[in-house]
């Protein structure tokens, strides 16, 4: 069965996805609140997989929760913590429970997270994980054995348009698409002219491209991202704009900027859609969409 997200991708409509972070623990209240608030507003929601290598409730469990609550999940799967047996097993389980979208990621280093001494796996890489999904869809596992009951997924991956240097990143990007990625979510972009340049290149490939939007919450947060997040560059004029916000008004300004960017991407048809990352402030996503004129 084709996922509603896949149908939306194929329909040519402007796609909006967002993120929901599973909790550190079993208290699912906030996660459920976010899912219920967003499930009818976005085309699909990503469930993050131990984001930044911080151990949390599993993305698979949270994806199941989205499904149970009537939403459309995109299961994030990193290659950091599971070898090819475990990844394939989780794909079988996901498929059996109606989870139809998977975002294939390499995963951050264990060293950056909260279990710094853990063994990292990286048995497969992100492009190989995309290829694994396509292999399993043909009824085979990576060992060459037949599957009793197959799988069907809409597979995606990511790209960092602002990577420095960019060329090695694009080689990987093309491998992901050749392996069968149907959609690509980008790392956060702020310079839309640069995004347009990137799309002149990326637009020639068959995958749908969703521009990553990270909500700016303050000028220091923007500076922090510039310094610490690979491939993210918030231009000075946006930092100044954030800094110009009245006391207590930075978040409102951030929503305004995110909304404005999404509107431009939509109106000028720069990308096929957007992926909004509100980083723990998912309740603000409807506000961002309203600011963009999308609801």
């Amino acid at each position: 069965m084709v996922s509603s997200f896949k149908k939306a991708l194929d329909s040519g409509k402007f796609i909006v996805t967002c993120e929901v972070a599973p909790p550190k623990g079993t208290n699912l209240e906030k996660t459920i609140h976010h899912i219920e608030m967003l499930k009818d507003k976005v085309d699909a929601m990503n469930l993050t997989d131990h984001q930044s290598s911080v151990m949390r409730f599993p993305s698979l469990g949270a994806a199941l929760l989205v499904k149970e609550l009537g939403g459309e999940p995109i299961l994030q799967m990193t290659c950091r913590d599971r070898n090819r047996l475990a990844l394939q097993a989780d794909l079988l389980f996901a498929s059996s429970r109606g989870i139809r979208n998977v975002l294939c990621l390499t995963g951050d280093s264990v060293i950056l997270g909260d279990h710094k001494q853990a063994k990292s796996v990286f048995d497969l890489d992100s492009s190989q994980l995309v290829a694994t999904i396509r292999t399993m869809e043909k009824g085979k596992d990576l060992g060459g054995s037949d599957l009793d009951g197959g799988v069907s997924f809409c597979a995606g991956a990511i790209v960092t348009p602002g990577a420095d240097p960019l060329e090695p990143q694009l080689i990987k990007f093309e491998k992901k698409i050749e392996a069968g990625a149907e959609f690509i979510q980008t790392q956060a972009v702020y310079d839309l002219d640069k995004l347009k340049n990137f799309m002149e290149y990326a637009g020639q490939f068959p995958a749908k491209i969703l521009a990553g939007i990270i909500l700016l919450t303050s000028a220091p947060m923007a500076r922090f991202m510039n310094k610490n997040i690979a491939g993210v560059n918030v231009p000075q004029y946006l930092i100044d704009e954030m800094a110009s916000a009245p006391k207590g008004g930075a978040l409102k300004k951030g929503i305004e900027i995110a909304g404005r960017m999404i509107k431009k991407i939509h109106d000028e048809k720069i990308c096929d859609g957007v992926h909004i990352m509100a980083i723990g402030k998912e309740e603000l996503v409807p506000g961002i969409m309203a600011e963009a004129g999308l609801v």
Binding site: R80, T106, S109, L112, D164, P168, K172, E174
Partner: protein, 224 residues
């Protein structure tokens, strides 16, 4: 030349390992740990002072030429008396040396060092891990730079999204292997080689622990 790269364990850990063992014989190595200043004459002398300071009796010390050589046992025999008096050998060689000594002398051994990697001196006092002996070498397609070793995640199809300005996401002092590979292949005019999709790796090119016995092959050939 390849070298075994070591680092001294914290003194607290060494103290803990030597708990209840009052008489210590010290062994260093004249090859790798002398080069890395972790187990040569000066380091043994410093260790001797540390041990004496915490009330240990050092019965003797020796820096053997090559601790991992099978002749090490013979060389150490000259120190038989001093070794007999000790109830532990504190070895300041890499783990190859420690294991060689342990297999040759019926004596409790304690390593004073952690063996970090088998590396190459790439500059004065600078050592890098460039091969992890995986058994399935792919550097013919990556310009002679090993991504399995030089990429923190061992990625074989290109960089992760964490690389920035040619450096690794875990440490801005470490080069991103894929930037190095890309630059070299571009220079060689062979970028096509790294555009080829690499299938999942065989992680058991040689199942751990590695074992090769050339005499088995000779015997097979003779039998035929």
């Amino acid at each position: 030349m390849i070298r075994s790269i070591t680092q001294q364990k914290p003194l607290e850990e060494i103290d803990e390992l030597l708990k209840g063992l009052g008489r210590v014989f010290l062994i260093g190595c004249g090859t790798c740990t002398t080069l890395t200043h972790t187990g040569g004459e000066p380091e043994l002398s410093t260790m001797r002072e540390n041990l004496t300071g915490v009330g240990k009796l050092v019965t003797g010390q020796v820096v053997v030429p090559v601790a991992c050589d099978n002749l090490t046992g013979e060389i150490i025999k000259d120190y038989g008396g001093q070794i007999d008096q000790a109830n532990v050998l504190l070895v300041m060689s890499c783990a190859f040396g420690v294991q060689t000594i342990a297999s040759q002398l019926k004596k409790m051994v304690v390593p004073a060092l952690n063996t970090m990697f088998i590396g190459k001196e790439t500059g004065m006092g600078r050592f890098n891990e460039i091969c992890t002996q995986c058994g399935t070498c792919i550097i013919g397609e990556t310009g002679g730079i090993c991504p399995v070793t030089s990429c923190h995640k061992g990625l074989v199809n290109g960089p992760c999204g964490g690389t920035d300005k040619g450096k690794c996401e875990i440490d801005s002092n470490r080069d991103c292997a894929w930037t190095l590979i890309y630059n070299r292949m571009k220079e060689l005019g062979r970028l096509d080689s790294i555009k080829k999709f690499q299938k999942p790796r065989n992680h058991h090119g040689e199942p751990m622990p590695g074992r090769v016995d050339l005499t088995e092959k000779t015997q097979e050939a003779t039998a035929k």
